[in-house]
Symmetry: C2
Subunit: 255 residues, 2 copies
């Protein structure tokens, strides 16, 4: 049995704990078990049944320890740990080397957007692993395989780039949705009028590269429509509208 | 029975014709019937069984005539028509008034991204109507109601703004996907690693405003991560990355 401990119960840490607890319940073999979790606030998570620890020095014996705290705290948390367990962080942008004071360490990165209110199907989330040796590899792969059917090896560099790509895919896409909603609210346009378009835009790219699917005024070099749109938009929105429009034009000029 | 004629078989025109033909087949009452279509190329569309017309002067008798040609041609096409039918265009950004030489006219705008290869479920696409009088209203609403369960009245101004919002929702979102794919290809990262994130980003906004869902370095004012990302990105991508990042910051500063 692999005993797991999780440090941090932010959006990701909490979902990881929940998935590990469910996994313990569901798997007959009980190969992986959450033995406890730590958070800074000292408040028990109502969604978790495992034991809360509020002092990093009294962490129980375990085989793997996940650091699921904010990026800029990972190095410090790592320094405070004297466990012989394999230490893994869950960040997309922090290098694996910040954990190198330990004998066995690695990274367990899930490129997903977690929020406390929403359930997550771990089975479909790819887990991107990195490890410093075969021992770390084995334990990380075992834990990952009990959670998801999608696992990959990525080195620290690739992971950083994946994290940038995730910012485009999540943060930037969400902001485009938000800007569209802002415009519609302003002009009393029913907010659900673009739901079908949003869905189709997403669904289309499941089996085709997005690059091959681009349409619209920027792609076809329709300056007149771009000018009209700029006149309709608030001054503060011109910069982003133009930057994306330019970027689209550039992508297809290069062809 | 309402006899319909469609001018233009681009992505939208073709799907409109197909939906009208299927509707004719499926509806027992046959209240709406496609009596023919026109296109400039003079080539019969293999997906359509209705008659192709190649001369706008020999269009058959009909009750409603859709102009589904590119935005900048609508006015000219309208001028060439001497039909007594109700004339409607299908554009998001062209004002209804370009059709005013006719007695009955209106707009039949579907904020959706059509492509020839993909089937479309019209039933879920909102149809945004505008009309110059009650007669036009009645015929447009009847046709719309046989195609979709979602109909709205929007005036020309609202429709223009909806069209801008559609550019954010479709063109800009698709370009963010394309940029993410570009980065992943460049660094040999498996292209499916962000599929789950893309899906979640879309699904989350079905029941919550996107504005309330924003996360990431721009939202939390994490300058260090923004700087790191800029170093990782090609010079040509800085402008768009920064413009979106600034726009996100601004949206939440205003709160």
């Amino acid at each position: 049995m692999i005993r797991v401990f999780v440090i941090g119960t932010g959006n990701l840490g909490l979902h990881l704990c929940k998935a590990l607890e469910q996994n313990t319940l569901n798997t007959q073999k009980q190969t992986v078990k959450l033995v406890g979790y730590y958070n800074r606030t000292g408040k028990k998570e109502p969604q978790l049944s495992s034991k809360l620890y509020t002092d990093l020095h009294t962490i129980p014996e375990c085989d793997i320890l996940f650091i699921a705290t904010p990026d800029d705290t990972i190095k410090n948390v790592s320094r405070m740990l004297s466990s012989h367990a394999t230490i893994a962080h869950t960040s997309g942008s922090v290098s694996m080397n910040v954990l190198k004071k330990h004998s066995n360490y690695g990274v367990f990165y899930m490129p997903q957007s977690f929020s406390k209110q929403r359930d997550v199907n771990f089975n479909e989330i790819p887990i991107c692993l990195e490890y410093n040796n075969d021992e770390s590899k084995e334990i990380l792969e075992t834990v990952a395989s009990t959670l998801s059917r999608k696992r990959n090896y990525l080195n620290s560099d690739q992971r950083k780039y994946l994290h940038v790509a995730a910012v485009y895919t999540n943060n930037f896409v969400n902001h485009c949705y938000a800007k569209a909603e802002e415009i519609m609210n302003k002009y009393d346009i029913p907010s659900d009028l673009l739901n079908a378009l949003r869905q189709e835009t997403y669904l289309k790219t499941i089996d085709q590269p997005a690059k091959d699917l681009q349409t619209g005024p920027a792609k076809r070099g329709d300056k007149e429509t771009v000018e009209t749109h700029l006149k309709l938009l608030a001054e503060k929105d011109h910069k982003m509208y133009l930057a994306i429009t330019e970027s689209i034009k550039k992508m297809y000029e290069e062809l």
